[in-house]
């Protein structure tokens, strides 16, 4: 533990170096801006920022993207509370009580609870991240290909099963992403797969054009088809933040505790993002909270539960990224891309070979949470101004960032064509109600899954039972089965109650 604290202190000093500190500040501001703008998601923002990191060294690059991630979990809450417009999908549960509290004449208190919750969640997550990462990395060193495959499989099923909605569509999206990742030359045999004689396809399809195209261009096309209609801002709200008193916050300690646990657990599970953490936490509050019957009427618990969970999930996502090289969410998938671009492969060995970088990342999360608090408290008025920009203009620049970002990786126009193709696919996915997140995760983790599966089959002479006989792999496979069965169980339990209870939303 002393060693960890010593390394962490070194990390703090490293972050306070001018270039790294500047990256932190820029990341916090841009992350909050991106989250405030409806139609521009946190993941899109991190994706669009990635090309700017090509010319930077690895430490400020990762600090910039991580800071965007941290502040982005808070920024979208502002418009949820003030204008009933969720800046991010994770802010939807917050809107139910946050906007109600604002409408009751307490917008400053609503913003204050949100900021306090975000900071609490952030500090908890940073602490958990530092505490868990090193022991987790030591355990991860003992992992072999069966464990990697079972963990990736768990990540796949979690994002599908926990995400809600049509499981069939989510699975199809996931399998499609995995299939896209097989295009190109096979690593083991050197065989062309699905290239159809095209040199462009022979290079394979990286996950960056898939992610940028589907999330970025695809979303813009969806909104273009709707005529770029943003909901009108409701009147002129007085914008200030009033933090809660400690005594009031102490009364909600159970809510803080539950939400932190949900956030960290959802964060550690690969594929379960901040949005899932936010919804699950709100649901848990609705089940176990003291004032659960008043949820939705503008109570502080309805703000604290989702906000703490979504910010707390950030550190959880960073743990599998740093210790296993497996991204826990879309944003960490982009951060993984930044690592790889700089020639660093995250995994258990990174704690030995790049310990200063790792602890600088930890320190940047701590400082980022504090910076987010300061920004959220003092800079809220200028942040809101961006909402008055015409959506058509903002969207054009989003598309350009997508295209240039993709081009900047290889200076190759074929990447632009990939963006266009996956932009149209992303639009069709939205139109036909296929979730995009499983596709992107399938594209990112598909090669990992294939390599670990084939390596296992080769090493263990096609003995597939090894996934169930090795203890860690067997345990993760059991969790996978639970994750797959849980939605059916939930549906089975809900049937008799659906006829009796009115819908909460709307």
């Amino acid at each position: 533990m002393l060693e960890v604290l010593h390394q962490l202190a070194g990390g703090f000093l490293h972050v306070l170096a001018p270039v790294n500190f500047l990256a932190l500040v820029v990341g916090l501001v841009v992350g909050m801006l991106v989250a405030v703008l409806p139609g521009l998601t946190l993941v899109m923002g991190v994706v669009l920022a990635l090309p700017f990191t090509y010319g930077m060294s690895i430490t400020p690059s990762i600090i910039l993207l991580t800071a965007m991630y941290v502040s982005g979990t808070y920024g979208g809450a502002i418009t949820s509370i003030l204008f009933r417009i969720p800046g991010e999908p994770m802010d939807v549960p917050l809107l139910w009580d946050g906007f109600a509290m604002a409408r009751a004449g307490q917008p400053a208190q609503a913003l204050g609870w949100t900021l306090f919750a975000a900071m609490t969640g952030g500090l908890i997550t940073a602490t958990i991240m530092v505490t868990l990462a090193v022991p987790f990395a030591k355990v991860a060193l003992t992992f072999d290909s069966p464990e990697y495959f079972s963990i990736v499989l768990f990540g796949f099923t979690s994002v599908v099963a926990l995400g809600g909605g049509s499981m069939a569509n989510a699975f199809i999206s996931l399998f499609f992403g995995m299939l896209v990742s097989t295009v190109g030359v096979d690593e083991i045999y050197g065989v062309d797969r699905f290239t159809f004689g095209s040199s462009m396809l022979r290079d394979g399809i990286g996950y960056l054009p898939v992610m940028v195209g589907a999330y970025g261009l695809g979303e813009v096309l969806v909104r273009l088809e709707q005529g770029f209609v943003s909901p009108p801002l409701e009147g002129d709200r007085s914008i200030a933040t009033r933090l809660p008193r400690f005594a009031d916050a102490w009364k909600l300690r159970a809510t803080f505790g539950r939400a932190s646990l949900v956030g960290v657990l959802c964060g550690i599970v690969p594929g379960a993002g901040a949005t899932i953490a936010s919804f699950v936490s709100y649901g848990v509050e609705g089940q176990y909270g003291k004032r659960r019957r008043e949820l939705g009427t503008g109570i502080a618990e309805g703000i604290v539960a989702p906000q703490v969970a979504s910010t707390a999930s950030v550190g959880g996502h960073m743990v599998p990224l740093l210790t296993l090289g497996i991204p826990g969410s879309g944003a960490t998938a982009v951060i993984l891309g930044a690592f790889l671009l700089h020639g660093v492969q995250p995994g258990p060995q990174i704690f030995e070979t790049q310990s200063l970088l790792v602890y600088a990342i930890f320190a940047s999360v701590f400082l980022g949470v504090l910076g987010m608090g300061l920004l959220g408290y003092f800079a809220i008025r200028p942040l809101i101004k961006v909402l008055y920009l015409p959506e058509a203009i903002v969207s054009v620049f989003v598309v350009l960032f997508c295209l240039i970002g993709a081009y900047s990786e290889h200076n190759n126009l074929s990447d632009l064509w990939m963006i266009v193709v996956f932009g149209v696919i992303g639009y069709l996915f939205e139109r036909w109600r296929f979730p995009i997140a499983p596709m992107v995760l399938g594209c990112i983790l598909g090669p990992v899954a294939e390599t670990s599966f084939l390596t296992t089959m080769i090493s263990y002479r096609n003995d597939w039972t090894v996934f169930f006989t090795r203890p860690v792999s067997a345990a993760v496979m059991a969790l996978t089965a639970l994750a797959l069965l849980y939605p059916f169980y939930r549906r089975f339990r809900r049937r008799p109650q659906d006829a009796l209870e009115p819908s909460r939303a709307g």
């Binding site: 199809i172 273009l224 088809e225 949005t275 203009i393 295209l403 002479r461």
Partner: protein, 182 residues
């Protein structure tokens, strides 16, 4: 009734593509190595899963008397009320087709027109397609935006953007000279 069958379209499309690609996996050219799984095993497994999932979904849709669109997590979003609801549900397919066409044209013509001219034209036309009508603002944003991108990406990020072919290249080279880009 029609909406139920319309709901089948994406699954039928995916099923057809999956079957075609599965057929393609039998034509991968490689030499099998003993009992090792070949490069066709993994893609074929994925395609089999896609086919099975599509068939399950198609059967489920055919069995149900009324089709219900799958509810996604984002469907839990607060639905806008009043005028907001009406405008949010209205679609403009022509805008969509135009937007896609403009983007394709931009990518296709980028190496000919060069980054500055191509981007300025793209910004202007796409903003206008997005139903924004103030031409002075569009002109300023188009020209200023293209210049800003050029400066940031070529001068700061050191990205080599297309300069185009003559006579368009002359414009790019002149601007690069003004910005001190080599």
């Amino acid at each position: 009734m029609l909406s139920r069958y319309r709901g089948l379209v994406p699954y039928l499309l995916v099923l057809a593509v999956a079957l075609a690609l599965a057929w393609n996996t039998f034509h991968f050219e490689f030499t099998p190595r003993g009992d090792r799984p070949g490069p066709d095993v993994w893609p074929r497994a994925i395609l089999a899963l896609i086919v099975v999932t599509c068939l399950v979904r198609i059967l489920a849709l055919l069995r149900r008397p009324f089709s219900s669109d799958p509810v996604m997590l984002k469907d839990v979003l607060e639905t806008p009320s009043g005028a907001g609801a009406e405008t949010a549900s209205k679609r403009y397919p022509l805008l969509l087709v135009t937007g896609i066409g403009l983007t394709i044209a931009y990518v296709a013509l980028l190496s000919t027109l060069g980054f500055f001219i191509g981007t300025a034209l793209y910004i202007a036309t796409l903003i206008r397609t997005g139903r924004y009508r103030r031409w002075p603002v569009i002109a300023v944003v188009a020209l200023g935006g293209a210049l800003a991108f050029m400066f940031v990406f070529m001068r700061i990020v050191y990205l080599s953007l297309p300069i185009g072919v003559p006579p368009f290249a002359q414009v790019s080279l002149m601007l690069m000279q003004l910005m001190g880009i080599r």
